[in-house]
Amino acid sequence: MKRYFHNFGERLIEGILALSGAVTSLTVLLIVVFLFKEGLGLFSQHPVSEGGVIVVNNQNPVKELSAKQIKEIYDQNITNWKEVGGKNQPIKIFRLEDITDYYPEEQLGANFEYLPQRLSELVSKQPEIIAYFPEQYLSKNFQGHPIELENITLGSFLGGKEWYPTIQPAVQMGVLPLILGTLWVSFGAILIALPLGLAAAIYTAEIADNKVRNTLKPVIELLAGIPSVVYGFFGLVVLVPLIQKVFGLPVGETALAGSIILGIMALPTIISVTDDAMRTTPRAMKEASLALGATKWQTIYKVVIPYSISGISTAAILGIGRAIGETMAVLMVTGNASVIPHTFLEPVRTIPATIAAELGEAPQGGIHFQALFALGCILFLMTLIINVSVDMVSAKKKANR
């Protein structure tokens, strides 16, 4: 009997341990569920700004427009209905504040109680009008029909070149500038961090004596330990003014500033992973090379580096992963302009910085909120791909041994 209880206790403990072991997997699963549930909601939304409605005259054959077309119309890049599949007549843009051009104030009522009626009248009289106003002013027997906005599609979301999530009358949800901005800054960071990190790793693993190695180790640990917001602060007060001065720019908040700070932040990852990889080079291989008359340097670049190349590529991938997901430092130094970057001396905006800067202002459950979660999905997928590929590289390495 005692033995039975004893066994039961052991089983119970094992069960509790297994449950704890499942927490990380469960968390990853929950992250996927919550991120995608909220994020995918975006694709069933009309991109018309929250609480607004876009209407045209009843005779107008145009029933549906894309968000991009609406913006082009309101930017007056499209000026004729013909261009969007309607009759050959100029487009007349109407915004709510224009109402006083058509009706004197007394006809609108002291509290604008006649406004819905007047709007209806106006739209029915003007065949070429396109009007945008808050939904609350849409009267029940409105003379005119609302424009259906095409749903946001995955293609227009990923391929769209404009990110204006709060613009009226139709929000522009194109994340291409943000994706490119993220990759651009991360790519710059790795260009800076990889040579520096490799050199430091080779030096610590192969050249330096123990004393130097023992001082470099805490340095790397400290670099890894400094909070990203402190890096951002340092970048903001030192690096940004420096870049502005050196390159004679109007603002110092640039992709370059972001790349430098991210490069520094990626250094510890790159150094420690590369260092670990190099140290696994079998001593016999190194000694064989030296015995054949190779110099120490020849041994390093002909034996040690080729042997640890998968470790070095793992380091590079992990470094990029760190750079892609970094939020605060980038938010503080890159200027956050959502344009497709062309040089390193322009402001850029990355995906994490966009989420951090905008989520606080996005109304919950709204289209902007969902778009930011969709951005989170993209970010999550990017890092997932990186982690899985690292796992595959190291699994392959193990199999080769």
């Binding site: 903001l236 890092t383 982690n387």
Partner: protein, 294 residues
Amino acid sequence: MSFTSNPNLNKSKRFWQAFAFNSFRLLSFLVVAILVVILGFIIINGISVISWEFLTEMPREGMTKGGIFPAIVGTLWLVVGSLLFACPIGILSGIYINEYAKDGWLKRFIKLMTNNLAGVPSIVFGLFGMALFVNKFGFGDSILAGSLTLGLLALPVVIRTTEEALKAIDDSFRIGSLALGASKWQTIWKVILPIALPNIITGIILSVGRVSGETAPILFTVAAYFLPKLPTSIFDQVMALPYHLYVISTSGTNIEASRAMAYGTAFILILIVLLVNLLANWLRRYFGRKVKMN
């Protein structure tokens, strides 16, 4: 490994070796120099701001005067809260992976998921914490929601540390204990864990540094721009050091006037990291010696 100079080594070979080695040495010193510059800059500018008043008073006059006491208290709450969540689960999980899980797809899957969780960007933790803890569970912006979010972030670190610590223990300890008739759990509880504990504690101390400096996960789960009073329960919002530094250096009402406060806050954050690292190194050395003496 020692290298004896080869008399046949020709000049060009020797030149390239010297050139390569010196450039590597230079670049390595550059890495050290970067750290020294960053730390030096923050410490030199920040240390003059530190005073008893700065550490124990509320911010005043739009964050340009006074102290950062509520932010220190808030960060303390969050560190304790997140560790209360991450430590038990993380250690148990590490024990499961290293001692119980059999080699195979399940173990590989759990390890892969732990790695994935470690690689998830901190802002995604923020999004997730907001969706699950703040909205779904209805905790609102609170210490509870923030601590759980930060705890999830620290979880993979604790798991890995535990795993490494357990892996480093020689199997002879396990076999010896089992041979004496102890059960598996008795072996782990009485023999393995006491040996692994110093390393596990070191790892947890290092994760204190990480948790206290994280900003993105608390942006939407707990952090407040300014609160006139200290939190009284885990359902209150708090100010926190990293978020405080972010707001007063980027979006304060008067950025120039609050610069001194920002330097002071950055100094405190750096100080936490330095202390945590020193403590961890000291523990490592202290316990290292102790084990050797046994």
